[in-house]
Symmetry: D2
């Protein structure tokens, strides 16, 4: 289902009752009831929430097998969660808030005509938006809290850049004392090991939205900043593929026991 | 002088000896000797450093009057320093590091032909660069340390976006306990009061590189994030004007006792 | 008046009856009744048409003095007419059709949100539109017929390019036998002589939309192609300034006996 | 071989002498000696010219079978020739010159760093270049002359637009008397019949560089303009694929007796 949240929840409810499995790309089934209703609005069928599986295959592969209701992650949560998952899972992040500064292409605003997506309001310009708060922040915080086993705070600021596809996430992870560069890199290596859609870049290179556009790939990098007690963890995804339909298809492949890259592996970017 | 650092220092030395005042746009005279030599290389005429005035008119107006050697600030230091000066000057920032995530247009890379500025390597793409370290970080840290009266740590990450002119700085300022939204806004109001080139935007609007392109204006905003103990302080400047020649001209006007906006006030953006 | 044609005609009618002069930017008063109704629709106040003056100052300066109703030319007709006026006025063009291939920025499509102006439908793409026929073609043909003293046929094809402001017109003028390069250049020199907003570029340079953006200037060039019996006459204008409000203001200045560049001469492009 | 003309000719000479077949993407083997030396410079191995086959598969399929030396067509000649081939082959075009107004993306200028490809010299701007003459004009004229069985004159004007990949060719074909819209469409239908890489668009749609980017496809359209005795024939290609390596691979497939789409059919555009 690729529908507005709420609408998709009502339709999913009917489908599930008839025994049809559902992959839903909206926010309807990503959060628990309390968080959903605090972030969005009243949930039309909360009894399905406990059975929904969050469709981030690299982090929820076991739960996805055989799943009947898959909640496709938000585009920003996909980029940020994968960028920093290694640090939170390995206990390298401190209790200070994560700062996630994201830059998104214009497809993130949807295909509908609006003043905000008019070429002349986007070209040759960069601007932050929803700085006061964006609905993806609670989803990111929930993901990281699950990984860390404690409540994680997140400061998330999206920016619109004159690009069509892609999200670049620049994440500033506060480190616990004594974390080394090697520990960061090891944690990322463990995350990407055996994962066909995750790539840890060699030192000195940074993720690039153009290289992943049109694919399900995620580029990852970490730079240790010990003077500031931080790790700068970055990721690039294609919001239209990995950040929505591609990630959902990957999760569905896992759920159905198919090859995880079925329908995804042949995608190649058309970089100039 | 608009020359590479070092080259401009040697020329400035000769000019000053002949009694000619100098406005230098390079890094040659922005830092003290120790910081300069740690960041760049050996200084060819360090005896001039103590007499140089940092050309950020809003913060150094008194020292600029009558100055004979003005060091034009770097483009990123201009944007970041003005974005957060109010908080550091008013003692609202804690000892945790400042995180400055900057997005710059391609003119920031200079007019020379290079692979990095080839249209096909820039268009439809966003990427971080020099994440391991950028020479402007020590300049920013020095500026803020001077304002705060203590050593300030800075994490600075520049990004290249497919825009011609402009720097958007998104700064995450760690707050001391109990700072209110009103205190932040008051500090910014005090900074911009009487300043013709600084504008604090009304709540809900964010700085926009297109609105300041072609002008010496600086747009400023703050969003209070008490849940994370942060203020998100943002600025937009035109790197080619306010971030270099325009800011230098403003400083020169102060030095010469001219109207501070002479040659600058008539500039207007050509927004579509 | 900056309103849709028809609407503006009805309002102009009321204003003129009350003795208020009108500068109208719509198509309402650009054509005679027959051509208007063939191109647009029934005219609401055709009795005003004979008194309207076409607001292309360089070609209608005498008629504009004291005019009470000025019809601002269309954006494409401004660019094409000024590009080729010299050849048609001097009798250098043959009876074969003029071919005008125009490339326009997205502001030409207006400020309203539409799928056609969505960033993702415009960026990184070039396409022709309204190839079957565009309403500006009869206006161009009328202008050139007036200059030539005979019916001139025009093939006009607009293209949308991922640019904000500007129209580049590439015009292929069929030449009568024996026209020399010097004759073409002389005709253009005569056109631009004494004109502050027209500039004939030196040989070898071509008009550039970026250099005229934000100004009322028109850049012109001609390349003689004797092997094909053609002159390639090119122009660049800013559709938002010279192609609409700027050209109208210039015409109004003439009508009111003011300096022709009042309110226009200080405009400067903000080229990177 | 993807080398500068001349250089590739000398290398091809050596390879051919050793029995190695050659597909050459330069201009070295596209023209006969006289035309080559008039357009480029002295040919280093003119004895190979008579054996070279021009690699436009749709027009030279029979000659390509078994060819040992294939000359890959220029990017503009590919787009223009395919746009108008149907009219010239069917005898619908008159003796008046063809006017080909082309708009190319920046990859057409090569990957080397140059001022002309600097992002800030390309973005938000459109400009003609080499209006006085471009080396591809004789190649286009030769192609059409071969199709028409008489000398065809061509006026060719390229323009640079802020796009990465793609060439849009807008061709104004002078028609012999009495050519109907149906005759034009029939000629195009005959051209595309059975061709997997040519697509005649339905009436009312125009070729789009974004839809063909990353593929070997060619989109074609014709609009009849009887009032001006013209057909407006348009094409869109990806200059990096169909206009160079892709077209060459297609020709090589024919030469080797392979499936003509081998290595090409799976390409898909990554349109937002």
């Amino acid at each position: 289902l690729g529908l507005p949240h709420g609408t998709s929840a009502r339709l999913a409810d009917q489908l599930l009752e008839r025994g049809v499995g559902v992959v839903d790309l909206s926010a309807s089934f990503r959060l628990d009831r309390e968080l959903y209703e605090a972030t969005y609005d009243e949930h039309p069928c909360p009894h399905h929430l406990s059975g929904a599986v969050y469709g981030l295959a690299e982090l929820h592969r076991e739960q996805l097998r055989g799943a009947r209701l898959i909640a496709g992650p938000g585009c920003f949560p996909t980029g940020v969660t994968l960028a920093v998952a290694a640090a939170y899972r390995a206990g390298l992040a401190s209790a200070a808030p994560l700062i996630a500064d994201c830059k998104t292409g214009v497809t993130g605003a949807g295909v509908k005509a609006s003043l905000g997506t008019h070429f002349c309001n986007v070209a040759d310009r960069v601007m932050p938006y929803k700085v006061e708060g964006h609905r993806h922040a609670p989803e990111i915080a929930r993901n990281l809290s699950d990984l860390a086993g404690r409540a994680v705070r997140v400061r998330f600021t999206p920016h619109l850049v004159p690009v069509r596809r892609g999200i670049l996430s620049t994440c500033y992870v506060p480190l616990v004392d004594g974390v080394s560069r090697a520990a960061l890199r090891d944690a990322l290596s463990a995350l990407v090991e055996g994962e066909r859609f995750l790539e840890l870049l060699p030192p000195g290179r940074q993720p690039d939205t153009a290289r992943v556009a049109g694919t399900n790939r995620v580029e990852l990098q970490v730079v240790h900043d010990p003077a500031n007690g931080l790790a700068v963890m970055t990721s690039a995804i294609d919001n239209l593929c990995r950040g929505s339909s591609g990630g959902a298809l990957q999760a569905l492949n896992v759920a159905l026991g198919l090859d995880e890259g079925a329908g995804l592996s042949q995608l190649t970017p058309t970089l100039p």
